[in-house]
Subunit: 226 residues, 2 copies
DNA sequence: TAAGGCGTGATTGGATACATTCACAAGACC
DNA sequence: GGTCTTGTGAATGTATCCAATCACGCCTTA
């Protein structure tokens, strides 16, 4: 049987070829340089990255898998544009998976990471919205970096990526960023991690995400229906 | 701005082109015709489906996104082979997401679907392992077909697909298939759906999945470490 | 004899050129 | 005047060919 396994361990991918395009386009989408709903032309991308349309297609397929691009056969590619419902779903999933992920990751976080988390939590307070969102993302994803559950971590990362470009939600999130509850929860979370209490940390996180989800659900008007 | 949305609703994909390869290869992996860990040669696939290597590459990229294929740059493609840990993770995720998905789907299931579920639950009893696994999959995925949470449904479907090819777990699952508890839980689930009690159905389902997960965790030896 | 380097072959990655499909719009018919 | 039809154009899908890369086996050497 042709079961020759790759060299040693077939770790993720680490493609040295057209990954330049994947990374670049992902960055453009996450930073908002390409807004949700805008069309992506293969030829434009090819020119932009000095490549042919072939690696571009590979890149689009991969980003489709990540939920950042929507491909329609024989028609074209668009930057993924979540509906209100899909955004709600994302938060429902996060509410279930992230506490689990944190409880699995927590035992593997050393003191240096916890210190870094504490620092991030402090710097978030009083920051402007853009800074808050950047630090908040770094804070939570760092807390999941224990490496105990890579599959869950990947799903969670995709959910963060999917919802991040939706600047329309900023009108609501600015309230979340200013809320004392948000920063209190971050503090509680760090302290639970310092106490090596994964269950408590997970519980705080569940409340944290639920509160944000409910806040978003209260203002469905921030989403246009175009 | 070039924001021209696709025709009407950019529903999923419905690609009329090389999707033949995606469907065919997915089927081969799910049915076990291609075992986990075996290599996939682009040229072989191209010959098999009477196409060039180019649509084959697209297909592999897409199935990589579905978690059924592992691509290593400049090296090749393999049928995804889950580790013990990844399999455990999959069940942990299912334990959290499927009850949620069921509680959202349940209100949208009409009587005909519930009848079909009851029929499937009955036919599962005393069936051989292959039949049980097929009916069990159909049973659970049908119970999620309310269409209330397509994003969650897609994640769950991928998890089912990822774990399905792992015939090594069959030694354990045969015990699950024979267990009276399994069929009792299926019955309870159908009755909860008939009563229109999504919360109860979700609760039963959570116990159902947890029991299977624990059973698998008790026999880590069914997984080789090659 | 065992370990390291090198060459060969096979396989994947990419570029160009052509075929196919779809969207949009202008025109004809009712 | 509205609706259906049809034609044009642009963008995607595919095939073939060439280049780059990696795995495997052989040879050399300590």
């Amino acid at each position: 049987m042709t079961t020759t396994q790759p060299a040693d361990a077939p770790t993720t991918d680490t493609g040295p070829a057209s990954d330049r395009i994947v990374d670049g386009l992902r960055r453009q989408i996450l930073t908002g340089a390409r807004a949700p709903g805008t069309r992506i032309l293969q030829e434009d991308l090819a020119r932009e990255f000095n490549a042919s349309r072939l690696p571009v297609r590979d890149a689009l397929r991969r980003l489709e898998g990540e939920g950042l691009v929507r491909l329609v056969a024989n028609t074209g590619a668009w930057v993924e544009s979540l509906s209100v419902h899909e955004c709600t779903e994302a938060y429902l999933i996060r509410e279930r998976l992230e506490p689990l992920l944190l409880s699995l990751s927590a035992p593997h976080l050393d003191d240096a990471v916890v210190d870094r988390l504490a620092d991030l939590a402090t710097r978030m307070q009083g920051a402007d919205l853009e800074t808050f969102l950047r630090l908040d993302r770094e804070f939570h994803l760092l807390s999941y970096s224990g490496g105990a559950a890579p599959s869950i971590e990947e799903i969670v990362r995709r959910l963060w990526n999917s919802t991040q470009p939706y600047r329309r939600a900023y009108a609501v999130l600015v309230g979340v960023a200013d809320s004392p509850a948000t920063h209190a929860e971050h503090t509680l979370l760090v302290e639970a991690l310092r106490r090596r209490d994964p269950q408590d940390a997970a519980h705080v996180l569940e409340l944290h995400i639920r509160r944000t989800r409910v806040e978003l659900a209260r203002h469905p008007d921030v989403f246009d229906t175009d």
